[in-house]
Symmetry: C2
């Protein structure tokens, strides 16, 4: 591994492009599983990142077994039915048409967990903001997403975490943080669920301002 | 912006290297502030990323004002004194010697906030896991960290979030997620607070296993 910390201009562009072209993939997964070597490379990349107090709270369950994925998919269907029931009219119709996961199509799923009460790290940085343990795991997920840009990654949050814990034998002290579908894909796509908010409306200076654009025209 | 989604082998290496060489910077910040153009570029990069239901919950307060930073620094000192008091013996001595933030040395600080109750995104993906709103903001922070690899970024979690909200006028419905110190730096360094855990001990297959290495020797 090249550990040079400086980045050339064109290398920075690569990073910006990886960030900008990240997609949440829900369809188009190919059957061929990711090779063990690639999985190991991805997990190594996300494992070797900073965490609060170097506690390294992230844990991973790689799910290939079809029966386990089917049980997770059933949990998704139940949660999604409850979600659908909260919408009415056009929005309901739009929601019903969305393809929101690729649990069975993706050959591999990855459940990312966090052990927020771990003694590792000796509580450094967690006295006032204990939530930073789980935040460290989210940073690992975002790293995985970028490292896996050559493959497709889809994050499924329409799952009851307690049901997911039952299916995957996750004990109470371990928090299921993200359930990801992994696989090679034949395309990347965009959806039309919500429009984008301009940057000017969310950045304020020195102190918080609810609508900076309105106050600093 | 080049939107090509494929990455060449050497481009992937750049991404892996950015992930691997990310550092939490606490000292060595230079006085020269980051130019507005760079700040705008960084925030644009992190703003244009996926979020749950495209709700885009992240909000940013860029803090340059010295008095505001001094108030935040005082809040750090208080929180850090309470943290120090929880350690004893060698560990306490080691903790006392750590330099844990660069609030005053860094010419700019960035408080990253989340609006988890926002109606934007119409609750998509948040019925069963509402915490994904804040998770989306953490993903943005990790992106910022990688986009800003040419500069130093340090995450300060030794702050009482309520006190931080007072100082920065953050209303109750907005969650302070991360307080970052930003600036050019003259070096990157490592600390010796905790040792690393091997990857094999945190990856299990198909179902969770508390110590996979012990069970799959």
């Amino acid at each position: 591994m090249n550990d040079r910390v400086e980045f050339e201009v064109q290398e920075r562009e690569v990073i910006y492009r990886a960030i900008a072209t990240r997609r949440d993939v829900r369809r188009g997964f190919l059957e061929k599983p990711l090779p063990d070597q690639l999985i190991h490379r991805l997990l190594s990349a996300v494992h070797c990142v900073p965490s609060v107090g170097l506690m390294q709270p992230s844990r991973f369950v790689l799910v290939s077994d079809y029966d386990v994925r089917r049980a997770v998919h059933e949990a998704f269907l139940q949660a999604n039915e409850r979600a659908l029931a909260t919408y009415t009219g056009d929005r309901r119709e739009q929601y019903a048409k969305l393809k929101l996961e690729g649990i069975l199509e993706a050959p591999q799923n990855l459940c990312v967990l966090s052990d927020p009460q771990s003694e590792r790290g000796h509580q450094l940085g967690r006295h006032t903001m204990p939530e930073t343990a789980i935040y460290s795991t989210i940073c690992a997920i975002q790293n995985l997403w970028l490292a896996a840009r050559a493959v497709g990654v889809g994050w499924v949050s329409i799952l009851d975490p307690d049901r997911l814990s039952e299916i995957l034998y996750i004990p109470e002290n371990i928090v299921p943080v993200g359930y990801l579908c992994l696989g090679y894909v034949d395309r990347f796509e965009r959806f039309g669920w919500e429009s984008r908010i301009p940057l000017e409306r969310i950045v304020s200076y020195d102190r918080y301002c609810a609508d900076p654009e309105a106050e600093n025209p």
